[in-house]
Amino acid sequence: MHLLEAQHIYKRYANHEALRDVSITIPQQSIFGLLGPNGAGKTTLIRIINQIITADEGRILIKGERLVPKHIADIGYLPEERGLYKKMKVGEQLIYLARLKGLSRSEAVSRIKNWFERLEISGWSEKKIEDLSKGMQQKIQFIATVVHEPDLIILDEPFTGFDPVNANLIKDEILKLREQGKTIIFSTHRMESVEELCTHIALINKSEKILDGKKQDIKNQFRSNTFEVVHSGAINGLDLEYQLLQEEVWESEYTKSTLQVAEDISPNEVLLKLIPHVEIHAFQEKVPTINEIFIAAVR
């Protein structure tokens, strides 16, 4: 079942079109990477899902229902431009934000207490936000995003401002939330975290969706039958149609060659053809990284 479906979304501003016919489907319990260069329209789409702005055309379904204001409680949003009231105390602020999402006071208090224990920050309740370090503030911000236990959690660049230790802590929390059945939309420029966390991705460029699907399918789609071989001896007179993309010295004694072959040739065939000619020290198919796919697709 799809948790969220955006169908043919258009959004125009006075002098440019922010989204043109964008449709995405986000399966339940996925970690959905929403990728794209700056200004591509990601934030606009996220704001439409959050009902901060409305789409000019198209519709959004959440759990099969048309998105309406009551769904605010089902969504937790961590915007890229985020912050908290600096002069307010941590506890008070979290209770306020949780109640704005529709929680009762007592429920808010007990859930916040749980989160404080979970993130090992008990005893911060009476501190003012301005007295906390940036990383600490990010933790509070994360709690504010998930405290009402939304089914859909939207994180826009969640790791900025975190040191590696805290970034890991939050990453673990994201994975835990997914295990509990939550769905996560994850918008970022940091491709290594997309590679690590996402199950699905969509790529938006210049207001249009240019790519989407399961991460693995997309990776396969971008396979180019390219192999990296580390070998000694020269590759000459091979009985194989190939293109030598790159040749370089590898660890001073070997050569590393990058070969691209025709689509219908399997890795084993390539290997068999190579063995008579050179001594092979390493052989692997080169699968594109998300970063490479991103750059290739945007071009």
Partner: protein, 436 residues
């Protein structure tokens, strides 16, 4: 609970607990009470020390003219030594002053001098001058064979009573002085409160923008709810402060009145107004001030004050919120502040003209236009305003409030999500017509 309610409560509580609010709440009444109590207290404290004034009368005309004044504790003592000797003795004499009256020409008395270590108060000098003038006049009268009684019979005191004819034909005793004072104070208070709390709304919006919490909040509530919550929350703070000020001022004045009971009963005579003789119209007016106050319809006045304060504030508050939303910092607000505050400033500047003609054309139109009506109407109410005008003005103000809030909301919802762009009037114009 309603989300707007949550926002109002947050805005209210965080502001009411601020140190600046508490300090202002305590200091305000002290300042107000100070304005009332200090002059009276000063005037009275001055008279508590015994003052002895030596009088050298070389003219021989004014023997026993100066009588000691027990109330203000001033004693006159005639001495019959020469001026030079008296001056020499003065530093060790413990006397407050030395009044020297040389041989004088009655028609042109010259050379009367008062010596003292410190500058004498205006009241004291006024008393001395008054006594001298009266005494010399008596002597002159005597020499011209006119008795005092004849003179007093010649003087005619003219008093003009002002009576307002209301539409129902009732007669109401009016007092232009009291009405203008009440009008001025009310109009100024509204002006100051709108600016003070309007600026608070604006700064609140800028704070939310610059701390980047605004997008977190508006993923939970509509921008309009956030804006109205803030405007109403700050209005409640303003009302709270106003009521506390009124309460504290009353308490302080009452307590001060208990400490100096003699002051409370006779403020006019202790004020430094030595020259005012007893049957002067000013004094009479002051003594009748409480009576004159009854001519002002106090419940109507209070109702109008609260209505026009709230209406004016709500109308401007939304505009101030819009200005804040278009800015990234306080300094960016300048260019938009002028057009927003200009009508308010105009209404304050024209107060004097309104006062001259509280029912003139200018007064009428300015009290109808919602941008100026809160201040102008407050000035007019104590003079009596036809009911239809009052109701029309109120209706127009409500309409104005709905209109500015609608406009402000359109600017606000886009402004709060716009960072780092230089916003000018053209962009604001675009925002007005942009879909959400």
């Amino acid at each position: 609970m309603n989300k707007i309610g949550l926002i109002i409560i947050r805005e209210y509580w965080t502001r009411v607990r601020k140190k600046s609010f508490i300090i202002m709440t305590v200091l305000g009444p002290l300042i107000f009470a100070g304005i009332v109590v200090v002059p009276i207290w000063l005037a009275s404290s001055e008279s508590t020390d015994e003052k002895v004034i030596a009088v050298i009368d070389e003219s021989g005309l004014l023997a026993n003219s100066f009588e000691s004044d027990e109330e203000s504790n001033i004693h006159y003592k005639y001495i019959s030594i020469g001026l030079d000797q008296a001056k020499a003795e003065f530093p060790n004499s413990n006397r407050y002053g030395l009044l020297y009256i040389p041989k004088i020409d009655l028609s042109d008395p010259q050379g009367i001098t008062f010596f003292s270590e410190t500058n004498p108060s205006l009241q004291l000098l006024g008393n001395i001058r008054g006594t001298l003038r009266q005494k010399l006049r008596d002597i002159k009268l005597e020499r011209s064979s006119i008795s005092r009684e004849t003179l007093e019979a010649l003087e005619t005191s003219v008093d003009i009573n002002t009576i307002n004819l209301t539409q129902t034909g009732e007669e109401q005793q009016g007092d232009a002085g009291v009405a203008s004072a009440v009008g001025y104070v009310g109009a100024f208070l509204i002006y100051i409160f709108i600016f003070l709390y309007g600026a608070q709304v604006m700064r609140g919006v800028i704070e939310e923008k610059s701390s980047r919490i605004v997008e977190v909040i508006i993923s939970s509530v509509r921008p309009f709810q956030l804006m109205m919550g803030k405007v109403i929350g700050v209005a409640s703070v303003g009302l709270t402060q106003f009521l506390l000020w009124v309460g504290f001022t009353l308490i302080i004045v009452t307590v001060a009145g208990n400490f100096f009971p003699e002051l409370a009963n006779q403020p006019p005579s202790t004020m430094p107004m030595g020259q005012i003789s007893e049957n002067s119209p000013e004094l009479a007016a002051m003594q009748n001030i409480s009576q004159a106050f009854q001519s002002v319809n106090v419940p109507l006045l209070i109702f109008c004050f609260i209505f026009f304060f709230l209406g004016g504030y709500l109308m401007y508050g939304a505009l101030f919120a819009a200005v804040g939303s278009a800015a990234d910092s306080d300094t960016d607000t300048q260019q938009f502040m002028l057009p927003v505050s200009a009508p308010l400033i105009i209404s304050i500047v024209t107060l004097a003209a309104i006062l001259n003609e509280p029912n003139g054309t200018l007064a009428f139109w300015m009290s109808m236009i919602p941008f100026t009506s809160p201040v102008t109407m407050m000035m007019r109410v104590p003079f009596g305003v036809p009911t239809w005008q009052l109701l029309l003005s109120m209706a127009l103000l409500i309409g104005g409030f709905i209109f500015t809030t609608w406009v402000a909301a359109k600017i606000y919802r886009i402004g709060i999500l716009t960072y780092g762009t230089k916003v000018n009037y053209k962009t604001i114009g675009k925002w007005l017509f942009q879909r959400g």
